[in-house]
Every structure is written in C-alpha cells, then in structure tokens.
Symmetry: C2
Subunit: 257 residues, 2 copies
C-alpha cells in the first residue's frame, strides 16, 4: 500500500480534519452510529480503523434518518496520525462500500465541529413525477399532476424566521430549546419528469423538510391551503401541516460553514 | 386484488404484447434467463407467473451483459389471458423488485418480436469525470482530463456502414454471419461532471459499444489515433481498437421499431 508507512505514525499534535462525504442512504439506518445496525458513521469509522490502525470517532453535521441520502455531508474528527489528507481520502475510499465516498479532506482549526460550526444546510426533496417508478434515482413516486406554479408560490411562505413546531415530528420537540428556524430559500424545480423542492436554512427540526414537502403535496391536492401554513406557524398545530413524506426522497445537498 | 378476476381467465385468442421496461442491472447477470442466477428475464417471468397464474416466456430485444442497465428495454410475449394492459402493468410492478419496472404495455401484431422487429437501438456509455466516484449513478469512473472536442471529432468516424469485427469480443464473432453494422449517430455530451457517449445504430455486435467507448478513451490518452480506427475497419484487428470498458457504465437508452 502506497500509504502504509503513515499508519501508526503519530504526529506531534492532534489534527482536526474537516471531511466531506457523499452516500446513498438506502442500505443504512441513518448516519449516526447505532449498535448492531449498519450506519454510515459505522462504515466510515471502520474504514478509518483499517487505514490508520486506531479507533476514531467522527462528528457528523447532522443526524439523518434511515434511508436519507447526502450529496455533500460534512463530518469532523481528531486524529493523531501524520497521513496527508490526499492519501487519507484515497485510502478511505479504497475501503468504503460503493454507496459511501469521501469527496474531500482538509485540516481545520481545532475549534471546528461539523455540527456546531454549520451556518446553513441545503436539502433537496426529490419527487418522481413520471408515470412509473424510476429504477435509477431514489425518489418519492408521485404520478399525479403537479401544479408547479402553485407549489412555487406556496413554498415562499416558508421563507424567513418562523416557529416551525408544527413541522416537527413530536419526538423531536422535546430535544430542542426553541422551534424557531430561519429558511433562506425554497425553490421548486422541474427537470425531466422529476420535481425538486430545494430548501436552504440555518437549521432544521426533526423531519422538518419531509413535513414541509408533504405539506406542499397536500396543497397540490387541495387538502391544505396557504392559510393553513400561516395558521401552523401561529398555533404550532401539527394537523395544519401535511403528511411526512418518506425518507428515500430526501437528499442533504450541502452544508455551509 | 383489483385484477384477481382476470387471473386464469383465458381469452379466445393468443395475444402478443409489446412491453417496455427499465432496469438497473447491478444485481443481475444480464437480461437473459440463466439457471440458478438472478436475471431480469427470470424476475419478470416470475412476476407474470404470479399475476396470471401461468408459465410465460418472454423475448427480449437484446441480451445484455451482467451489470448493464436499461432505460427502455423492450420485450414481447404471447399470453392467453384477458387481463387489460393497464392492469397487467400495475400488477407486474406490484410484484417486481425495486430495480425493475414495467413502463408500458400494448397489444402488438402477432408477427411482432422484440428482437427481430427492432429497427435501431440507442446506447449511452456514462462516464463519471468527477474526482471521486458517484454513489448515485452507476458509471465508469474516469477522473482524468477529457478532451471533449477530440472525442466528438473521433466519434464521427464510427458513423456509417462499417465492418466492426475489430470492435467485437472474440466469442461474439462466431455467432454472427456478418460483422457489418451501421451507426446512425454518435454524440458526446458533457453534463454536470459526467460525459455521455450516445450511440445509435441498426444493431450491435457483442461488447461493441463498450469497445468503441474504450477506444475513445484510448484516443483521449493518445494510445490510439483516428488512423487506428480506420485501420481497424479495414483489417478487423482487435488490437487497433481500445480496451473494453466495464458493463456498469452502459445503458440501453431506447429501442426503436
């Protein structure tokens, strides 16, 4: 191995690494490590162990639910090994399964933490609007008419600082001190039989993107209105929002620092 | 089941069906049925059996190698069952694995055969030109510079009627009476870090697209020239062509009748 001489070679000081990866979540119970279950974190830590011969614990930029994907997901980790970033990337990729890949690796300040340093995140909820399901792209199959203009207009309501308690799975409410979040942009794109809900914000509550996406689908079907969304912000009533769309349509598109 | 009353209901005459499907080939040993191995044909015939309660044998528009994908693949089959096409599509999709889907089904003349009636086929060879592998799209990872203009110019040489013996895997040569094929178009597209070789022709020899794609890659690397391709047409010498690229980058894009 071209990098074997780095394995076990301790460096003088602890390094903090900022690493971006991409994964298809179909085969994993989310990012976060769980005993006895296949997780993205578990696979990456195992690859680290093989490459540098030491136990490593990584901090992901967010938890993701089982089945959720990531185009660019950031994690940070402290290591005491001199292996250059470029070689570490290549070596990890050689040991990771085909549905997880390291995109880049760089040195970070020792204060950097992938989760707490994140300024904003962008998610895409992908909807297959074709008649039949798509065998190549994991997506939510919705073979009915989509009123894209209505969806675009309605999506604008989410932009800004709001109390998103109504757009949070109940288990998530007790974990946070505040349910106020800020959405910076919410675009609706159509592309080759697919629709994309592209939403960027400072942070997101548990299942928040999947519930906002489901609310748009309910608006499309006339089951919810713009007024219901405004009411949901005011009252926090989950019943004013729409259903939670399934995880396999959700992609963490990017994390910004 | 909404269509259960059709199962086993014989119709007066034999019907010939023309069916388009799509599949991700990663988990299959090609389209064509093989004993003891998972194949696309095997899965589809099994689904037919469950839906109409009778053994059905389907004829695919082409054999595809293990790992090759299809955006639109046609097969035909005779059945003696009155189930309407729409219901058959829905019922088959309910029983097929997630990586195979029936796109459409229609009645065809009794002379129609998915393989022998085909007028032309279009393949795409997908190359991931990004630095790291892609976890979402099956493709050939080539993280080096691509001279797209050179590839476009060179691809034009394949257009027209030529003896493609040099672009055929040797095992395939003994199966055909002629190695002359006609290529109608050969485009090279760039899109978001991917390159696509899009080739349409009347018919293709064994591994022909993968060898043409590999020849273009060799031209990109200066290992072959336009002159080598012209020489390959003249002499049939396999060594004048390039390497065979792997199956997982190949997509049968469409079949035309």
């Amino acid at each position: 191995m071209h990098n074997i001489h780095y394995a076990g070679r301790a460096c003088r000081k602890m390094r903090n690494l900022k690493i971006f990866c991409s994964f298809s979540g179909a085969n994993y119970h989310g990012f976060q490590r769980q005993p006895e279950l296949p997780t993205v974190q578990g696979e990456i830590e195992l690859a680290f162990n093989k490459v540098i011969g030491a136990e490593v614990s990584i901090a992901g930029c967010s938890r993701t639910d089982a089945g959720v994907h990531a185009c660019r997901f950031c994690f940070s980790t402290y290591i005491k090994n001199a292996i250059p970033c470029e070689n570490l990337t290549r070596a990890l990729n050689g040991r990771l399964p085909p549905d997880i890949v390291i995109l880049s690796c760089e040195e970070a300040d020792k204060s950097f933490n992938a989760r707490f340093s994140a300024k904003s995140k962008e998610y895409i909820y992908l909807i297959n609007n074709k008649r039949q399901r798509d065998v190549f792209m994991q997506s939510y199959h919705y073979p009915y008419d989509l009123n894209i203009e209505l969806l675009r207009k309605t999506a604008q309501l989410f932009i800004g600082r709001h109390d998103f308690a109504a757009f949070c799975r109940s288990e998530g409410l007790k974990e946070v001190s505040s349910t106020v979040r800020e959405i910076y942009s919410f675009n609706v794109k159509e592309n080759d039989g697919f629709a994309e809900f592209i939403v960027r914000g400072n942070a997101f509550l548990y299942n928040m993107v999947r519930i906002m996406a489901g609310t748009l689908i309910y608006v499309n079907e006339g089951k919810r209105t713009a007024g219901d969304i405004l009411e949901a912000f005011k009252t926090g009533g989950r019943e004013k929002a729409g259903k939670t769309l399934p995880p396999y349509g959700l992609y963490l598109n990017d994390v910004f620092y």
